[in-house]
């Protein structure tokens, strides 16, 4: 008997094999898409937005690429999501996680075709992931105690992270920048304290780390351009008309003279406010909101440097750097904590004038000024640097370090392989498949660098047969190299997150045996 129509008109339903195939294909397509960006010789992608202006982004960052794609396949969406989470959580490894999940599914597909039930595959994957994680845990190096060594670890990690990005030319320079910046944070993961300013012009090499704080603002006209031993009041207050906030208040006058009077009173009010602010004994005033001409003039008269319209992050950072507090009322000057710094001056970077605060009380915050040929280069440089900073700040907290260059994958693959041999039953096929999927990562790195991957990976495997080998792929020379000597390191936290979330995602997708797509919501404005 014909089954009555169950769903709405445009809804689709896919069952069993078809559903599984749809999700495998979707996931693998996404993995293949970002695959070529993996590794130091990975390629970039150009993304063109559909919005107005068709703005173009050139990037190598997996999360950025996937974020900008509009995807319809539900399984692919899962992969995009894990990449995003990886970005939020550890900042780097956004491509690896997708590629690994894709490879796991590719292997799973083969197993499913060989009539192994998805649930068996899942339980095999779980055992394998646990085993791989333990293998890594055994091999981690923790140099937290030794400050000197730890710093060199950080340096290596930064260089490894940056080597796959556009900054690889000057990776040493930038690695040093990033490590310095992160060390200043003293263990906090609050990356807001590191400000990145992008100024087109010059070359990437001209980028520098500034110990102080740079505010991308101009100094008001007629105010001092240079202040020594500055006392700074950071504020968030209206400096325009200072509206009466009591609800329903309005001004009603009956003659022109009254208007003038009110205006006078208003001016008087503002003058009072400015007087109060100046009474704090400051010589620099930074406000989040606009400062109108009139108060600005008053400040200029008093020889106070007034900076308007610093954005919210800027204010918070400035408060952090100078050790002041953000003030909104000014009635009791004695208890407001003022920020201090040795010198405020206007500096020029390229064509632009910026305000530079140096010799600040709190050394936590700093500014990295990026220079580069075009805004696209700068954007990509910022993303790369952000990745490096994220990884470093996470490493400061969890200081366990591994070698890079496909070394962790080889170690995991070896351990998983051994496990597969010991495990009886169908599960062992899945465990073996897991190890194959892990091996795919060094293969892709080698392939992307134009090397003979089959040759290299088999060499690597032979090397890793010995206990305690540090062999990995040296992409620069195109051979197997000693990762300890080459100084290629990665953070344990990143690798662990890649491993766990890739397995989790693969598991989720494998469990699905039916996809029901609801009818898309109708847009109100029919095109």
């Amino acid at each position: 008997m014909a089954v009555e129509k169950l769903f709405k008109d445009e809804a689709t339903e896919e069952k069993g094999e078809r559903a599984r195939m749809a999700s495998f294909i979707g996931a693998m397509a996404i993995a293949d898409l970002v695959k070529t960006t993996l590794g130091p010789k990975g390629m970039d992608k150009i993304l063109q937005s559909t919005g107005r202006g068709r703005s173009v982004t050139v990037t190598n960052d997996g999360a950025t690429i996937l974020k900008s794609l509009h995807i319809d396949n539900p399984a692919a969406k899962v992969l995009v999501d894990i990449s995003k989470v990886q970005d939020d959580e550890v900042g780097d490894g956004t491509t690896s996680v997708v590629v690994l999940a894709g490879e796991l599914l590719r292997e799973a597909e083969k197993l499913v075709n060989a009539k192994i039930h998805p649930m068996t595959i899942i339980s095999g994957y779980r055992v394998a992931a646990e085993c791989a994680r333990n293998a890594l845990l055994e091999k981690v190096v923790d140099n937290k105690q030794d400050a000197e060594k730890f710093k060199s670890d950080l340096m290596k990690i930064a260089m490894t992270t940056l080597s796959s990005k556009i900054l690889s030319q000057d990776k040493e320079h930038f690695a040093k920048l990033a490590v310095d910046a992160v060390m200043r944070l003293k263990g906090s993961t609050n990356l807001e304290a590191i400000q990145i300013i992008k100024k087109p012009g010059g070359s990437l090499k001209d980028s520098f780390l500034d110990e102080g704080f740079i505010l991308d603002k101009k100094i008001g006209i007629g105010q001092p351009k240079r202040i020594e031993n500055a006392k700074i009041l950071v504020a968030n207050t209206a400096m325009d008309t200072d509206k009466v906030k009591i609800y329903g208040a309005r001004v009603r006058v009956d003659s022109m003279s009254k208007v003038a009077e009110i205006e006078g009173a208003e001016k008087e009010k503002m003058r009072e406010k400015v007087q109060k602010i100046i009474a704090h004994g400051i010589n620099c005033f930074v406000n989040r909101q606009l400062i109108y001409n009139f108060p600005e003039e008053l400040f200029a008269d008093a020889g106070v440097l007034a900076i308007e319209h610093a954005d919210f992050d800027g204010i918070e950072r400035l408060a952090l750097v100078t050790g002041g507090e953000i003030a909104s009322t000014f009635d009791n000057p004695e208890s407001v904590k003022l920020g201090q710094c040795k010198l405020i001056e206007e500096i020029m970077i390229g064509e632009d004038k910026l305000i530079h605060f140096s010799g600040c009380e709190m050394g936590q915050a700093c500014t990295i000024v990026l220079r580069g040929a075009s805004s696209h280069v700068l954007d990509e440089a910022e993303r790369s640097l952000h990745d490096a900073l994220c990884v470093l700040s996470q490493t400061v907290n969890d200081s366990r370090v591994l070698f890079g260059g496909g070394w962790p994958e080889m170690v995991m693959a070896k351990a998983v392989d051994e496990l597969a041999r010991k495990t009886p039953g169908k599960k062992s096929h899945a465990i073996e498949a897991f190890s194959r999927a892990l091996l795919a990562i060094p293969t892709i790195i080698a392939d992307n660098a134009g090397l003979d991957s089959a040759e290299l990976v088999s060499q690597l495997r032979a090397e890793h047969h010995e206990e305690g080998s540090a062999a990995g792929i040296d992409v620069i020379s195109g051979s197997v190299g000693d990762m300890a000597e080459l100084g290629i390191s990665e953070a344990f936290k990143v690798k662990q997150a890649v491993l766990l979330s890739a397995t989790e995602a693969a598991e989720m997708i494998l469990r699905v045996d039916e996809i029901i797509t609801c009818a898309p919501r109708r847009r109100e404005d029919r095109m």
């Binding site: 008997m1 129509k5 969406k77 939020d88 649930m119 009010k269 989720m508 029901i516």
Partner: protein, 535 residues
């Protein structure tokens, strides 16, 4: 469509726009309805049991849900068919009433419908089938009570509770750490349970999720987590022995509800108004300070000036806290929600041992933990996981586990899972059937067959030979006269569900049978479907 004609050959019009409606009558209607019901059941059938598969659902807006929970699948499926909607309702009412077994109830109803179809073909009147089902369900209901076992637990011995929750969780994707999640669920329920009255208010358990980390990091917090941060970036991030003022009034100038105007027409008025305003803010902060509060939690926003004053007076504050969360905080800290500043008194403050702000990951996500509360009756389960869908699914699974634990506290009778209860009922119903003289006998026997379909689906999903396994288990039950033989889904090697520790709640099972029977009865009684035809 059949029409009646009068003596001149003109059709009688009974229903408005009769021509444009499609109409199914009699046996056709019943068969169409049964087919629709069966189709829904078939979708859910593969999700049953520990080896059940998940479904991926794409919502009209393109969001993805991956789930194993029957109620959620049906809810998101957005069905169009009327009978299918009934099935959705069925699963939902099981969800509201019991919280678990939402898939089982639909599969059960589907099986009953399938059996009914056969009886209809043999010419048995639908009402007789319905009545037979009713009788059979009563037999099964009573039989369940007979085979149910009470088990004792108290605040110190929670093992049986944990085992039952683990049975529930084992069918979900989170079964990787079902032990720890089950423990969390049981602890949470016990924390808020009133063991005297055997009542649990699940509203006191808040389930909060955040992407990142791994599932193992999921934790139970004896307190409240609020997804907010301190209103001023420089406020202290940690407060010991906090006294919390819980406010529902904004730190803003008053906005009387009646329309009014304040006219400013002289300079003096302008100035006094300004002073008033400043005094107003000052007063508000001072009032909070006066009663001894060390933390302000507010449902509304703050004015910039008020915010600074708060920070200036060293009074940390959290703004834009949702109403539900506010209530939970009030319960947990033993404070009172204060709607006006004038009504603040020291007694109305809530107390918490520790309030801290915690940052996650590399983005600026922060959350506020309120812990060591005066009254630890409100708890939070904080879920971490690799991606959004995982968190959502974990939330649903935890919800199911919480419901199960609650049901056990209400009524500590259990039956054995893995299809054991269904098989036992099936045997009992089958045996009882022969005693009924009427046509109902057939319906009762059909009910027994339908009961078999749940263990059958379990066996099928676990990759076992369904008929073979079922008959083996059934004969074992009859031979040894023990109602705890079930399907060995996890391939442990024993059919004894007592050994495998697979339990389900008695009320959950009973409810499943009653609800499924009711819906099937309703569907069977329909003999005419009138629907507007497509145009």
């Amino acid at each position: 469509m059949a029409l009646a004609f009068d003596e001149f050959g003109r059709p009688f019009i009974i229903i408005k726009e009769q021509e444009s409606k499609t109409r199914l009558r009699g046996l056709d209607a019943q068969k169409a309805n049964i087919a629709a019901g069966k189709a829904v059941a078939r979708i859910l059938r593969t999700s049953l049991g520990p080896k059940g598969m998940d479904k991926m659902l794409q919502s009209p807006d393109g969001d993805i849900t991956i789930t194993n929970d029957g109620a959620t699948i049906l809810e998101q499926m957005d069905v169009d068919n009327q009978i299918a909607k009934l099935m959705v309702e069925l699963s939902r009412s099981q969800d509201y009433e019991i919280g678990d077994g939402t898939t089982g109830v639909v599969v059960m109803a589907g099986a009953l419908l399938e059996q009914a179809e056969r009886l209809l073909e043999r010419g048995i009147h639908p009402i007789r089938i319905a009545e037979g089902y009713e009788m059979a369900s009563r037999i099964a209901y009573e039989h369940l009570e007979r085979i149910a076992q009470k088990f004792e637990f108290d605040a110190t011995n929670t093992e049986p509770l944990i085992q039952t929750c683990m049975t529930t969780l084992s069918s979900k994707i989170v079964n990787r750490c079902k032990r720890s999640l089950a423990e969390i669920a049981v602890k949470a329920v016990l924390a808020v349970a009133d063991l005297e009255r055997r009542d649990v208010n699940l509203d006191l358990i808040k389930v909060e999720g955040k992407v990142g980390g791994k599932l193992e990091d999921t934790e139970l917090i004896y307190g409240i987590i609020v997804d907010k941060d301190m209103s001023h970036p420089q406020m202290p991030k940690e407060i010991q022995d906090a006294k919390i003022a819980i406010l529902t009034c904004p730190f803003e100038p008053p906005k009387p509800k009646t329309k009014h105007k304040v006219d400013i027409d002289t300079v003096e008025k302008f100035q006094t108004l300004r002073q008033q305003e400043q005094k107003y803010f000052d007063d508000m902060v001072q009032k909070c300070k006066d009663v001894g509060a060390t933390l302000v939690i507010c449902q509304w926003g703050f004015d910039d000036e008020a915010n600074h004053l708060l920070m200036h007076r060293n009074l940390p504050a959290v703004r834009w806290v949702g109403g539900v969360e506010l209530e939970l905080i009030a319960i947990a800290t033993g404070g009172r929600i204060v709607p006006r500043f004038q009504e603040l008194t020291p007694e109305k403050l809530g107390r918490a041992g520790l309030v801290r702000e915690k940052a996650f990951g590399t983005t600026k996500d922060r959350m506020i933990y309120i812990e060591h509360c005066a009254n630890s009756r409100a708890v939070t389960i904080f879920i971490r996981g690799g991606n959004k869908m995982m968190i959502e699914e974990t939330k649903r699974s935890i919800h199911d586990a919480l419901c199960v634990a609650r049901n056990l506290i209400r009524n500590n009778s259990i039956v054995y899972g893995g299809g054991a209860a269904e098989i036992s009922c099936s045997i009992a119903v089958e045996a009882a059937a022969d005693k009924y003289p009427g046509v109902e006998q057939y319906a009762i026997r059909a009910f027994a067959d339908a009961l078999d379909s749940v263990p059958m689906a379990l066996a099928e999903n676990s990759g076992l030979q369904p008929i073979e396994t079922l008959s083996a288990v059934k004969s074992q039950q009859i031979k040894e006269n023990n109602p705890w033989c079930g399907i060995d889904c996890n391939d442990v090697g024993t059919n004894d569900m007592r050994e495998q520790n697979v339990f389900e709640t008695l009320i959950g099972k009973q409810q499943q049978m009653l609800l499924a029977t009711q819906v099937v009865k309703m569907i069977l009684k329909i003999d005419d479907v009138i629907s507007p035809s497509d145009y």
